[in-house]
């Protein structure tokens, strides 16, 4: 048995003092803690504080121009696919993958022609992910709808479910593949908003870059959840349109002047 000490426990005082100091710092400077939290979120992967989206101004989309299609297919290795030997033109053109395509609309009454690129619309509630039996179709936290080829079994339910005809199936063995765009027979694929670029910290897609390079600037890409981003400001300033808005999928790709 030791004698009860006359001195107060200084360790305890130290601890209480430090705790109060930390609490005070947290109250006084919440910004600092916020920054720390954000850094951690980045190293942990994509965050739902971002939602990537696209705004297409169909007035600026030029008839006959395919620079977005070309750039997309070059970026994602779609143009490396070879036609299987002996396959007919009709079959090849019906089955070859396309991540983005040009659609031309003409109003019969007024004769107004509208050109627009159509790709995966990156729905908030993607029907492809709803029907996928293996969970291969999924929506990333930042709103990008993707296919995990590791779990895709090639059943093509998602292709049937997609109202935008945005998905393609790889029918043949693929000889030439890119590191950034793996591809193989028996899986479904579609536009992923150039996810390899986004993960590398870029904020452009190949189609947007190509369209701007052509001088058309019809495609605007950015963060829908950032109120100060160019796309958010544009969406706020002018009316936009979702294709098949009646399905209430809340698409990430919007169109103006459609």
């Amino acid at each position: 048995m030791t004698e009860p000490s006359e001195q107060p426990n200084t360790k305890r005082r130290e601890f209480i003092g430090k705790s109060l100091l930390a609490a005070g710092a947290a109250l006084a400077a919440p910004q600092v803690l916020l920054i720390v939290a954000n850094v951690r979120a980045e190293t942990q992967g994509v965050s739902s504080e971002v939602r990537w989206g696209m705004l297409v101004d169909t007035n600026k989309c030029v008839d006959g121009c395919t620079s977005c299609v070309d750039a997309c297919h070059r970026e994602n290795g779609v143009d490396l696919l070879q036609r299987p030997t002996g396959q007919q033109d009709e079959m090849w053109n019906a089955q070859r993958p396309q991540w983005i395509r040009k659609v031309k609309l003409r109003d019969r009454q007024t004769g107004r022609v509208t050109n627009l690129p159509v790709m995966c619309q990156h729905c908030e509630f993607p029907p492809c992910a709803d029907v996928c039996p293996t969970g291969a179709s999924f929506k990333r936290a930042d709103g990008i709808v993707m296919v995990d080829r590791h779990t895709c079994i090639g059943c093509r339910y998602c292709m049937m479910a997609c109202p935008y005809k945005a998905r393609s199936f790889i029918h043949q063995n693929v000889e030439n593949k890119m590191v950034r765009a793996p591809r193989g027979k028996g899986c479904v694929e579609s536009c992923n908003l150039c996810v390899h670029r986004i993960d590398a910290g870029n904020a452009t897609t190949a189609c947007q870059e190509a369209c701007a390079k052509e001088g058309h600037h019809a495609i605007l890409f950015g963060d829908l959840k950032d109120p100060q981003s160019a796309i958010s400001l544009a969406l706020k300033a002018q009316g936009s349109y979702q294709i098949r808005a009646d399905l209430e999928l809340n698409t990430g790709v919007r169109y103006t002047n459609l």
């Binding site: 994509v46 395919t66 143009d79 396309q98 930042d142 590791h150 593949k177 590191v179 027979k185 993960d199």
Partner: protein
């Protein structure tokens, strides 16, 4: 009784010796393909015995992180395997890592384990697209120029996906 136990003992010794010889031959440094970047390095991203036993788990874990969470600056990546372990073919390019007797397939054939990574993933270093084909190593010779894909008169990619007048009319009338 005595003789059968003796025979068993001899067999045991022989079997043990065979295992030792086999493990020594596998443990030797010859598994790394000569002429690859890995041949000039001391170790992989983890000690060799750990890599031999666990490389498939490393890849499977990190592929989910990459695809679903977008984390790409990770230690274990298949592209990293290919970069280091592909042997040069002597002509400025690389041999595919899954070719017979190359790094991946050599061992996988020995272990009778199917290797399906490269049905989808690129099996040589470099990107292999049109921009790097002319300069980078591992260039692909059979790339078809993009223009020929889109400008050939038989190509109906765009007209095929453009809505026909009838479809447009029927939609506008709806």
């Amino acid at each position: 009784m005595g003789t059968s136990a003796g025979i068993r003992g001899v067999f045991r010794i022989l079997w043990g010796g065979a295992l030792v010889v086999l493990s020594l031959s596998v443990q030797s440094g010859s598994a790394v393909t000569p002429g690859s970047k890995a041949a000039g390095l001391d170790a992989c991203v983890a000690p060799t015995p750990e890599m031999r036993r666990n490389h498939m788990d490393f890849l499977k874990h990190d592929r989910s992180l990459t695809v679903h969470q977008g984390i790409r600056d990770i230690k274990n990546s298949l592209a990293g395997c290919v970069d280091c372990h592909a042997a040069q073919d002597g002509g400025g390019g690389f041999k595919p890592v899954n070719d017979t007797d190359q790094f991946c397939s050599g061992c996988h054939a020995f272990m009778a384990v199917d290797l399906t990574c490269f049905q989808c993933h690129r099996n040589t270093p470099g990107e292999g697209d049109a921009t790097t084909a002319s300069t980078g190593p591992g260039s692909v010779e059979t790339i078809q120029p993009l223009e020929s894909l889109f400008e050939s008169p038989t190509d109906t990619l765009h007209s095929d996906t453009t809505l026909s007048q009838h479809q447009i009319d029927s939609r506008r009338e709806d």
